[in-house]
């Protein structure tokens, strides 16, 4: 199939590359022309402006937008919406807020266009491993782009197969992509995926912190252990209940440097973690772990917090306590 890939950063560039490797024709655009040149080197057809795209594409055209969520995706979506022809399909592969999809789908529908929202997991490893995809949108349109989804998906690989009834959706799921429901549902499921990711990461982080601090000098001698965290992470990868891909990454990081000294620990959060809490509150679902994981990231970016200062002020007020020295 032929499609336009708009946005050739870490994600879009690799996805274009993988699509070409699987025999698809990619018309590649990015406002950074070096990225376009790189995509062309990998077999895509480069163009230097959005307006060149329609002429390059069959009807219905497929525009796959792979840009950071937010203003830039919104703007490019608008531009593409203006130049597309009725019946065309616009894919938002970024990490957009799923409620924005609802509004966008409605706006595009007024112009005869169809929105497909695709939540993509896979990061920098996707070129080789493939991309796990969660898809929302109109049935026929999602069916239409199926060959593209197949090419991007990781496929069966050597992962042990779960015994389950064989349906079309079950087969797609095994390939690594799932059509979740109407517009917005793809990003919704991807959002929850990231929410879980935050929680899992924090679980590991807290656990390794406990191991690390067990070597602290102020513990009694027989209760102090200087643990080899690299070996431990490696062991846990084998046959343990907590083996996972994240643990593989931890093992790689610790193999290099157990002190993690090149990281200061100011941890960003990228939207999905926040929206997950929002969705849970909307549904009245208790999410203590997912929320705590988000809050830990907030806290990691602040040296001193006003909350903590107020605690000190109260302690001074009722007990005359002087603060701990820095």
């Amino acid at each position: 199939m032929k499609l336009a890939m708009i946005g050739l950063g870490r994600m879009g560039g690799n996805m274009a590359h993988r699509l070409v490797q699987h025999g698809h024709e990619v018309v590649a655009y990015d406002r950074d022309l070096a990225a376009v040149a790189e995509a062309a080197k990998n077999g895509a057809t480069g163009v230097s402006s959005l307006t060149e795209l329609p002429a390059q594409l069959p009807s219905p055209a497929i525009y796959w937008i792979m840009l950071p969520a937010g203003e830039i995706t919104e703007n490019v979506m608008r531009e593409v919406g203006e130049l597309a022809r009725p019946g065309d399909i616009i894919v938002d592969g970024g990490n957009s807020f799923w409620k924005h999809d609802l509004a966008r789908a409605a706006w595009l529908k007024e112009r005869g266009l169809i929105l497909i929202d695709v939540g993509v997991s896979g990061g920098v490893w996707g070129l080789d491993r493939g991309y796990c995809m969660m898809i929302g949108g109109d049935d026929a349109a999602v069916k239409h782009i199926d060959p593209i989804l197949q090419a991007l998906a990781p496929g069966l690989g050597d992962i042990p197969r779960t015994k389950r009834p064989s349906t079309e959706s079950a087969w797609q799921a095994e390939m690594g992509y799932v059509h979740c429901g109407p517009a917005g549902s793809g990003h919704f499921v991807k959002m929850v995926h990231n929410g879980i990711e935050y929680g899992m990461m924090q679980a590991y982080a807290e656990g390794f912190d406990i191991l690390k601090q067990r070597g602290k000098d102020d513990l009694p001698d027989n209760m102090r252990f200087d643990l080899n965290l690299s070996d431990i992470s490696e062991v846990w990868r084998r046959g343990s209940v907590i083996s996972s891909w994240l643990l593989d990454l931890i093992a790689i990081a610790l193999a290099n440097d157990q002190s993690l000294s090149k990281y200061s620990g100011r941890v960003a959060d990228s939207g999905e973690g926040r929206w997950t809490i929002d969705a849970a509150i909307e549904e009245a679902v208790p999410v203590d772990v997912l929320a705590a994981a988000l809050f830990a990231r907030f806290r990691s970016r602040v040296e001193f917090s006003y909350a903590d200062q107020l605690l000190s002020a109260m302690r001074h007020g009722f007990g005359g306590h002087v603060e701990m020295p820095q």
Copy 2:
């Protein structure tokens, strides 16, 4: 009544003072002789060593130990246990771990001595306001020291009275002291008191932090408010659901300096908060708020955490994410 007050710091010194004011005779000891002199100035009889105490006291003697929990209380308790006479009463008024009381009571009992554990709330304000006391120990012994407890307790004051059946324990409760049960139960109740205190303090701290950060520059103009936290704390003291003594203290602190600039926000924790979580886990009671309050204090004392560094390492691993600049 006549009793020995051992330990004349912020708490013990004021308690000795208050007892004298209420007509009791206090024999005061502290290893800091300046504190003894101060107590003597306030009407107590000062002594310069523990061994002088027995001769000064009637039988059964009452030894009120008012020292920081831990080794020092343990040591002094041992010393007093050695020099006391059968039938004497030893009061531990510090913030001891309630399980230690169980062992101490057993050890003292072997020597014919009686332990009363008293959890005391009131801080530096107690001299004037009186001390709220939670008491554990043998019935007869607690009854014996009742006049002392009455003198230390805040009394009815002008607090609106709750309509309830009138019993002896109910009357004592209104005076501000309660005999909770056998040895250990006084410190147990005091411990939970402090656990609740941590949770309440953190609730205020988080709320005021939200108010404070609402003035941040990066918020949209119509969603940014520069709030007068001093006025707000003052208003909440009047007729609001969250009025409390802690809020009174917040109002005092904010009246001086809304920025709380003299506090760095490294918040100590003093044992009870930790033991409260331990007790809850022993009982399988979920205590998300009390635990989160404790953990916030732990976090306040660490500039960067290994947990956060590991989050950054994982993010780098799967997404090539570079850390946020400091």
Copy 3:
């Protein structure tokens, strides 16, 4: 002054009553005519439809809407907005979402009308104790309704005064009301107030649960205490660090029945707790305690959760663990 009070439920009815007691003229409306009759009995002028209001009021008219947040407030606001005259002031005294105020203020402004949002704390006790109020909106308009605010506010009472510089806002704060900033800021501050309230309530709830479960049969004899929670709550009201109005209410509840058997423990949440978390996330402020308090309420209303079922399924999967019997 003369004003219209729209909505005569538990809150609005008492506020109308208090305003009459303080010499103001209240034109009272509710769609429940029995509530109107009750207000008339208390000295207000009753009317049986919104459309009668303008003729009864001087210019600029003051419409105080005291209805549950949500659709009904929105609808009545619209209706009043249609029948009001330019320059009139519309007060929203319900627990509206502060971001809705922003839209409403804009809509009203187009019609020459002014929105004042007032967050009110005080509940059923406000008639006697007065209402603590947090106010957002235009300076001149807020100044105009000042006599009404003074009448509703609790006033100085016998609460110890905080030493602070004397300004107009400081004086108002001591009376029990505060003009926080532009439209929306009143409800914003009230929202955080309720968020704190959730956290404090949960802190007490967890603490008393620990005390209660300490009497459980499965604990070792010397670690089991049958505590008198009524006495303990009463003691904590006197001189303790955690004394508060909420604790007064706890003492009242426990004086009647320590087992709280008439409550099943399905706890509602009314919006502000949720919005507080939303605001904190918007500001990247960690609010572990406030969020945990909200989630505990969610959990209280579900007998079994899908999350828990999935935990059981996983445990069965990796360990062959059979579930605990019910």
Copy 4:
């Protein structure tokens, strides 16, 4: 090598079996003689009492105790300690509390015996997959039993190898076992492993709950999604950041029955989750996620909580709120 396996339940029985399969000689004992017979069928030498063991074993003898943590392990350890000969090695492979190991190691040492504590992960799958092991104890003794550890460990398998310096401990880690440090350190590391497990499980549980409740009737139509959780779990196993062995188990469970109707959701906890929090508090490490995961299990086992009842009582007290109907 030849060793005694004491305790032939789900874990011990399979471990004996695996050891025989790898060419070791196992003398098997359990107080349930049917389990002994089963082990004999699998190639072990069965005995019907502990006292028969010493005669069957070379010197130094290896006693591997594989029993539930707690009283039974304590008792059997004592018995074995009495009948063992100086220089013998006693392995505790159960989930014992690591601080108990410290006392046991000291007691055994007095008798010339050596304790090795082994934390084992692998559950019912270990017979095939092998057992991931965390080991504490004396260097020479751990070295002595190395062939046994190798046989039990999963081995390299087809797990991608982490690039890291090649040392002896690194090689063992890749085989799936790690000598963590002195006595107690094996169970310490296993305990943290389980703490992390609790956190990860809860992260998945909360995430899937959000997905599930998104189909609730009370959500607006365009914000309601009926999601196929089985397909979603399957997709996430492929190329996603949150793929893990636990997710594999979730996929298996959901393939059978998305409603998980055979689970009521009363979730047990087995000690390690609690001790992990205890260890973290000892080290002053904030563990919001691990603690919340534990508390969720506590909450899952209580229909109504006293804490929730008290919240209702407070709400009734200040707002006249009636409880939500059940």
